[in-house]
Structures are given as structure tokens and as C-alpha cells.
């Protein structure tokens, strides 16, 4: 799966949690999920669960803690998908 494919699917996953629609429309790899998208920090846990289910991957706590920006989430997913293959 390419980075842009992962990004497109990630966008669908995080969309319902986003509280700042404008930042979501201007999404870039640097977009911070808590600061910019104003996602509730408790909901970040649910986003990780949704990602695990959608991509069929296991995101450990250490990796999850580093997933603060959209770019970091894409990279983490990319690495985990690579490991699967």
C-alpha cells in the first residue's frame, strides 16, 4: 500500500473524531491530531483501535505514543504493513 493510499484511508478513520474541520480540509503530514484537529485525547485511543482493525495490524503502546501527527501515523502504519509482508 502506498503512503497516499494509507493517508486516504486514515482520513476516513479519523474524520468522525475531528473537531476542527478547517484543519482537516488542509490536512498535511505535519498536521497534529490533538493540537490542529482538536481530537479529544481519549479518542486517540479509539483511533488506534480503528486503525488496528482497518489495516489488520497491532500497534504497540510505544509506537502509539509517537503517533501525534498524521505523517507519523502514516509512517507507523507503513512500517507495520511492511512487517506483515
Amino acid at each position: 500500500m502506498t503512503r497516499s493510499e494509507i493517508e486516504a484511508q486514515l482520513k476516513t478513520i479519523i474524520k468522525p473524531y475531528v473537531q476542527n474541520e478547517e484543519a482537516f480540509e488542509n490536512l498535511s503530514p505535519e498536521t497534529d491530531m490533538l493540537q490542529d484537529l482538536q481530537i479529544n485525547s481519549a479518542h486517540l485511543v479509539d483511533i488506534i483501535l480503528d486503525m488496528e482493525e482497518h489495516f489488520d495490524i497491532e500497534i504497540d503502546d510505544e509506537t502509539a505514543e509517537k503517533m501525534l501527527t498524521v505523517g507519523e501515523a502514516i509512517t507507523a502504519t507503513e512500517n507495520l504493513l511492511d512487517k506483515k509482508d
Partner: protein, 428 residues
């Protein structure tokens, strides 16, 4: 007797019932004597004796009109959903606003919203995941949906309530008790507006316990609409139901100042327990307790027995129906044709457990405001022991138009707990 600070009136109604979701459909159904009881295939598959029940028909349209996409994603607890829908309807009906975003909450607005096993389906899912070593996969919504106060917590957040936000629980007495608790808070001047009500879920995992106790009617699986038969000679068990009822209670001063429409007034009420003594047990009421509860409600409301136009009974379609009528007759010292009209909403909804008292109270307020008495269906042949106590004309088989000034509603629950509330036509 102590002087009450405030008169308390009802200014909003909401309902999610097996025979009608939303006030307009519900009122149409109760006037027409329409049953919401249906055959439930899942109960047959699970080898239940009783395979009928009352489940509200909540549409996807209503859900998406009432919740955001995220809220729906995070909410599965059935009873909580029913409670929120009923609560929101009542709030809108009262033309009250929501505290927006960062605005201060309304410090004088609160809720007492009762619950039974409202999050049972969510809890079941969490139990399976946990036992399957998937605690990591529980997500973050299990606690908020399965805690007993889930419903009051959700409503408090939706509406921005800053006064008391709590959930009461007293089995099948819950709904009537919640209204009385909210009423007392306004009466005593501690709150201006309270959302009162209760909710419960439909689930084989709640209903199974009753099926095992053999207190459900298992003789009417082929004829669901005839299954709930309060006061009938052949009443042989209740039919499980679910849903929610909600009432906005408000001080009269507040309602007048807002120019709110007033459905009726709460004249007073009483709650007590038979102490599981004197014939009372965990599951059967002490008759003296019930009589004292009714007498207490009349005293609190300063009304005389002959003033009662209608009794909305607890009347579940079990062997408890006869002693209930006997207790009313003794407490009121009225019998035969002197006895007030009496009906049971459960004939159409089944027994909605913790939601029963509030759904039935919504029906009481509609009958009070609309000057009618809804039929008590499936009671063509009244129990002969009831006819020894009261005249057959007391039980309406069809809707009756009558001027209602006082309606008395009672609920009783496991644990030998009782509640009785008196609704009164509002007169300035």
C-alpha cells in the same frame, strides 16, 4: 404540614415506547389501544418460554437526527440510547435551549434519570472481549456506557446541566421515583428545572432472569398482542418491554416567566418500602406498605380519595393484579362504582421494567391534559376477584372522554419498594 417553596409543573414530554416512539405516535397508539408487543424470533432461538416482548422501533433517521456521527459510533448501550432520545424530545418540547460549547452550564437545571440494565448489550460485548484476552480492544467507551449513571451523565453533557445530575434505581419503581425525586428538588427550591425519567434495555440477558423465574406469560407466543392482560381472569404472567419516558419538571414561577405550555401539575407523592415484612418479600409487596404509600401520596398532595378521576396502576398482568386493586380499594376506602377508573398501560407496552414508571407517567400527563382515559386492553373478562372489589365500568375497554382533574400513578418494584405520584390539572 410544611410549606412548600414552589409549585411544580410539567412543561415537556418525551417517550420511546414499544407502541410508539415520540409523543405524537405514542398518543395515537394509546388512544387506539394499540399493542406494541411482538413475537421476538431471538427469544425462540434461545429457548425462552416467553417469546414475545415490547421493543421500541427506533429508526436510523431518528438516530442520525439526534446524534452526531461520532456519538453514534461511540454509543451502543440500548437503554441509554432510548433515554437520550426521550430526554431530548422532552427538552425540545419544553422549548428549552442547550448550553452551547464553552458557555456556562445552566446551574439551576439538572436531571434525575433512572435506569435498570440500560447498558447490558455493551457490557456483554466487553465481557466477551475481556475473557477473550482482548482487554486492549475494549476502547474508551465501555465505562461511560455501562456505569449505572450512564444515562444521567450523557444527558447532563448533551444539555449542559449544572444542577444535580444523577441516576436512581429501585427496580420497577424507578421511573415514578425519579419524577418524585426531581419534583422534590424543585419544590424545595434547590433547582428550577429538572429532567425526570427513566430507561431500560431490551435484551435476552435481562429478560432471561424473569423467564427463569416463570413470571413471564409463555402462553401467548402465537398471539403476541394478547399476551399482556392486566386484570384479566386469565392473566398469567407479564410481558417484558423496554424504552424510556421523560418529563421536564419546572417551578411554576419559571414556567410562567418563560411563557411555557403547561401540561399539568405535580400535586405530590410518596415513596416507601414494605420492608420485606408482613407478607412482603424480595419479589412480593407487603400490602400494608402499598396502602401506606398511597395514603402518604394523598396526604402530601392534600387531596381526598373521591377526587381521583383515574388510577394508572402498576398492574403487570400477573397474580399481583388482584392484591393491587384490593390495596387501592382499602387505601382509598372506595369500592364498587365509587372506585375511580383504572387502567394499565402495560396492556399495550408490556412491562418496561425500570422504564415503566416514567413511560406510564407520560401517558398519565397526556390523559390529564387531553381529558381522556386510554383503554386497558386484553381484559374482556375481568378477574372475578377484582369484580368483587370494583365495578366493571371502572375498567375502560375503549378510550373514554372524561374531564380529568386528578390522576394517581403507582409503581412497585423488587425489594418491596413502592412509589405513588399524584398529577393534577394545572389551574392558576
Amino acid at each position: 404540614m410544611e410549606q412548600h417553596k414552589n409549585r411544580v409543573v410539567i412543561t415537556g414530554l418525551g417517550v420511546v415506547a414499544p407502541n410508539g416512539v415520540g409523543i405524537p405516535d405514542f398518543e395515537k397508539a394509546i388512544k387506539a389501544g394499540q399493542s406494541g408487543i411482538e413475537f421476538i424470533p431471538e427469544l425462540e432461538e434461545l429457548n425462552f418460554r416467553c417469546q414475545v416482548g415490547g421493543i421500541p422501533k427506533v429508526t436510523d433517521e431518528l438516530l442520525s437526527a439526534s446524534f452526531t456521527e461520532l456519538e453514534l459510533k461511540r454509543l451502543s448501550a440500548k437503554g441509554v440510547i432510548y433515554g437520550i432520545l426521550a430526554g431530548l424530545e422532552a427538552w425540545k418540547d419544553a422549548e428549552l435551549t442547550f448550553a452551547e460549547g464553552d458557555a456556562e452550564p445552566n446551574w439551576k437545571y439538572g436531571t434525575v434519570f433512572g435506569s435498570g440494565m440500560s447498558g447490558i448489550n455493551t457490557l456483554r460485548d466487553a465481557i466477551y472481549r475481556t475473557d477473550d484476552l482482548k482487554v486492549r480492544k475494549l476502547g474508551t467507551t465501555m465505562v461511560e456506557q455501562t456505569m449505572p449513571s450512564a444515562i444521567s451523565a450523557f444527558l447532563g453533557g448533551k444539555l449542559g446541566l449544572g444542577n444535580q445530575v444523577t441516576t436512581n434505581a429501585s427496580a420497577c419503581s424507578t421511573g415514578t421515583e425519579s419524577i418524585l425525586m426531581a419534583y422534590e428538588r424543585i419544590r424545595d427550591g434547590k433547582a428550577q428545572i429538572m429532567l425526570a425519567g427513566s430507561c431500560d434495555a431490551d435484551s435476552p440477558h435481562v429478560w432471561g432472569g424473569f423467564d427463569a423465574m416463570r413470571v413471564l406469560n409463555y402462553k401467548s407466543n402465537e398471539n403476541p398482542k394478547a399476551a399482556s392482560r392486566p386484570m384479566a381472569s386469565d392473566a398469567s404472567g407479564f410481558v417484558p418491554g423496554s424504552g424510556a419516558g421523560a418529563l421536564v419538571l419546572e417551578s411554576l414561577d419559571s414556567a410562567k416567566a418563560r411563557g411555557a405550555k403547561i401540561y399539568g401539575e405535580i400535586a405530590g407523592g410518596f415513596v416507601n418500602s414494605g420492608g420485606q415484612r408482613g407478607g412482603g418479600t424480595m419479589t412480593a409487596p407487603n400490602s400494608m406498605g402499598i396502602q401506606k404509600c398511597i395514603e402518604g401520596a394523598l396526604r402530601d398532595s392534600k387531596i381526598e380519595p373521591h377526587e381521583i378521576d383515574l388510577i394508572s396502576g402498576h398492574l403487570t398482568s400477573t397474580m399481583g393484579d388482584v392484591p393491587e386493586i384490593e390495596n387501592w380499594s382499602k387505601a382509598l376506602e372506595l369500592s364498587g362504582k365509587e372506585f375511580p377508573r383504572v387502567n394499565s398501560l402495560k396492556s399495550m407496552t408490556g412491562h418496561c421494567l425500570s422504564a415503566a414508571g416514567s413511560i406510564e407517567s407520560v401517558a398519565c400527563v397526556l390523559q390529564l391534559a387531553g381529558n381522556y382515559v386510554h383503554p386497558s386492553i386484553n381484559c374482556e373478562e375481568v378477574h372475578p376477584k377484582i369484580l368483587e372489589l370494583i365495578d366493571e365500568s371502572c375498567i375502560p375497554h375503549e378510550s373514554i372522554q372524561q374531564e380529568n382533574t386528578i390522576i394517581a400513578k403507582s409503581s412497585f418494584g423488587f425489594g418491596d419498594v413502592n412509589s405513588c405520584i399524584i398529577f393534577k390539572k394545572y389551574r392558576a
